[in-house]
Amino acid sequence: MKNFLKIFSLIVLFSLLSFITQAAEKVEYLKTDWSFKGLFGKFDRAALQRGYQVYTEVCSSCHSMKYLSYRNLSEKGGPEFTIDQAKVIAASFEVKDGPNSDGEMFTRPGRLSDKFVMPYDNVQAAQAANGGAYPPDMSVLVKARGGGVDYIYSLLQGYEDPPPGVTLDDGVYYNKYMYGNKIKMANQLSDGLVEYSDGTTATIEQMSKDVTTFLMWSAEPHLESRHQMGFKAILYLIILTILVYFSMKKIWSRIETKV
């Protein structure tokens, strides 16, 4: 048993190490309470709906979200708009479809099954419109950045005047959380930029938090069911392990060797 504890603590140590090395890479990001962290973490429904509003009204003019469909907005574990609300949201976008029976392309109002409409037709168009920089697709953005949600949350609030000695080219901005401090996206958020329908005051901090929550959901749409299932699975395993432990003790008691 002693030996066994040694091995188990070794594995736990390995897990801890992987967290520590992860943590060691982190720059000091701004901190906030994320409702989706922890064993029972869930998304804040209202924050997701507000975050969607910030995305549509601010980010979506440059950033695509190609892996999301309008139907996702009403699915469980997400912003959970009602189906009717999601239909209205979808219909507010013009979707290019076709060819029809005459061989013509046409536009129609969006449906639930449509993917989020892209701001540009292709990468080149996006680059041309943004001084050569491609605004990255935001579907999995929080998973594609080392600092994750904390990084995105900080970056949105990290715009500053450049320190003396740093010169910036046209169309380049100073952000203290950006890798290399130079970013081609201008500061997008200002207090009161959007008008939240639930009456929340739209401070920069609030909007950053809401839209980052929304991005976390878009990157991990099944996060809530993952947490729920994980708790059940691990609880089940622990109970089974205890039962098997006592069976093992019973079986090995037949011989004089410790197990």
């Binding site: 091995i7 992987s18 749409p221 395993l237 079986i251």
Partner: protein
């Protein structure tokens, strides 16, 4: 082993067994006499079998939804994560399963090193194990390429480029591996094919590994040959089955924690960015389990010599049964070897750490010293230790604490009869 005189009870069983002795095999596997003093380090063989089966089963399901095409691979992985029922679960099990597999195999290998399990008469088991380990690394590398993220693409570029170090034909080989002049769609499709193939090769080798194990039987923490069956052994079922089961469940708890609560922590964020041949990531790093070898590769300034050093670091293990000249198996009775063993463990961990860091300054120096020590351990320390070390007296059997045993059963028997 007493399985040859086994006869099935039922008439049909007898009829069947005379034609295909599956029941004899099942009987052999349940009765298989196992040393009763095996500790928990010995449970990782069973855990590894579980890992292999898990990877194959989840991999099959993923292959049903994955599209091996440079333009669609990344999208199809996101499709699995979002729209396939429990696709996220299957993929996270598969991705973290690879890490768990390597965690278990490293414990398994270092157990073997500590207790001298690679020594006669178990050299073939050990060598098959090394081949399995090599194939595991190949499968893991190929699998990491499939999501077609930035690390996939650039990792594939770096690793395949190693072959260009071969004089004269190197460049040609790389072009042949790529199926073109850069890592592209032909590379992806062949990597997918090979990634699908290798686990079944591993499965076949695992059967041979276990077959070869069942000829001499398990080594044990005391490291002496034992009579089988005797009071030193227990039947595999139920004793070892339940113990392995218990250890496996503990392992699964850790596994589940990674899958459900931190599924991406062992991966690299850049792999959630779709592959882009025009943008090179700031640091190209392999998965954690390949880092020690990556450190060895980078610690040699010459490309060809670096590749040779990296390959030798793995292949040298195959020669271990002959490099270790000590007749005593278990480090329990080798006071000096025990210390060098732990230095080697630390050395490999250090190599892993510097492998993750940029190859410059102090990191590079540490990597070089650690690489030199790695080879020193196997090529100099082990052979010399075998001749010079004063080992402790080993017992005659597991149950009786009578000293005067020998790692070899024949001599042990002789001494026993002398004592009687």
């Amino acid at each position: 082993m007493s399985d040859h005189d086994y006869t099935p009870k039922s008439k049909f069983g007898k009829w069947f067994n005379d034609r295909l002795p599956l029941l004899t095999l099942a009987n052999h596997l349940t009765d298989y006499p196992t040393p009763k003093n095996l500790n928990y380090w010995w449970t990782f063989g069973g855990i590894l079998t579980f890992c292999l089966i898990t990877q194959i089963v989840t991999g099959l399901v993923l292959a049903m939804h994955y599209i091996a095409h440079a333009d669609m691979a990344f999208d199809s992985v996101e499709h699995i994560m979002r729209d396939v029922n429990y696709g996220w679960l299957i993929r996270y099990i598969h991705a973290n399963g690879a890490s768990m597999f390597f965690l278990a195999v490293y414990i398994h290998i270092f157990r073997s090193l500590f207790y001298g399990s690679y020594k006669a008469p178990r050299e073939i088991i050990w060598i098959i194990g090394i081949i399995i380990y090599l194939l595991m690394m190949a499968a893991a590398f190929l699998g990491y390429v499939l999501p077609w993220g930035q690390m996939s693409f650039w990792g594939a570029t770096v690793i395949t480029n190693l072959f260009s170090a071969i004089p004269l034909v190197g460049e040609g080989i790389v072009t042949w591996l790529w199926g073109g002049y850069s890592v592209d769609n032909p590379t992806l499709t062949r990597f997918f094919t090979l990634h699908y193939l290798i686990p079944f090769l591993i499965l076949g080798l695992v059967v041979l590994h276990i077959w070869a194990l069942h000829v001499p039987g398990n080594n044990n923490p005391v490291g002496i040959d034992i009579k089988k069956p005797s009071k030193d052994t227990v039947p595999f079922h139920p004793y070892i089955v339940i113990k392995d089961g218990f250890a496996l469940l503990m392992f699964m708890i850790v596994f589940a924690f990674f899958v459900f609560y931190t599924p991406n922590i062992l991966g690299h964020a850049d792999n959630y960015i779709e592959a882009n041949p025009l943008v090179t990531p700031a640091h190209i790093v392999p998965e954690w389990y390949l880092l020690p070898f990556y450190a060895i590769l980078r610690s040699v300034p010459d490309k060809l010599l670096g590749v040779i050093a990296m390959l030798s670091a793995i292949l040298i293990l195959a020669a271990l049964p002959w490099l270790d000249t000590s007749k005593i198996r278990s480090a329990v009775f080798r006071p000096l070897y025990r210390q060098f063993y732990w230095i080697l463990v630390a050395d490999v961990l250090i190599l892993g750490y510097v492998g993750a860091m940029p190859a410059e300054g102090l990191y590079l120096l540490v990597a070089r010293v650690a690489t030199a020590y790695y080879f020193l351990h196997f090529l100099v320390i082990l052979p010399v230790l075998g001749w010079r070390e004063k080992t402790l007296p080993i017992p005659l059997s597991i149950t009786e604490p009578i000293l005067g045993g020998s790692p070899n059963l024949a001599t042990a028997k002789n001494k026993e009869s002398l004592n009687n």
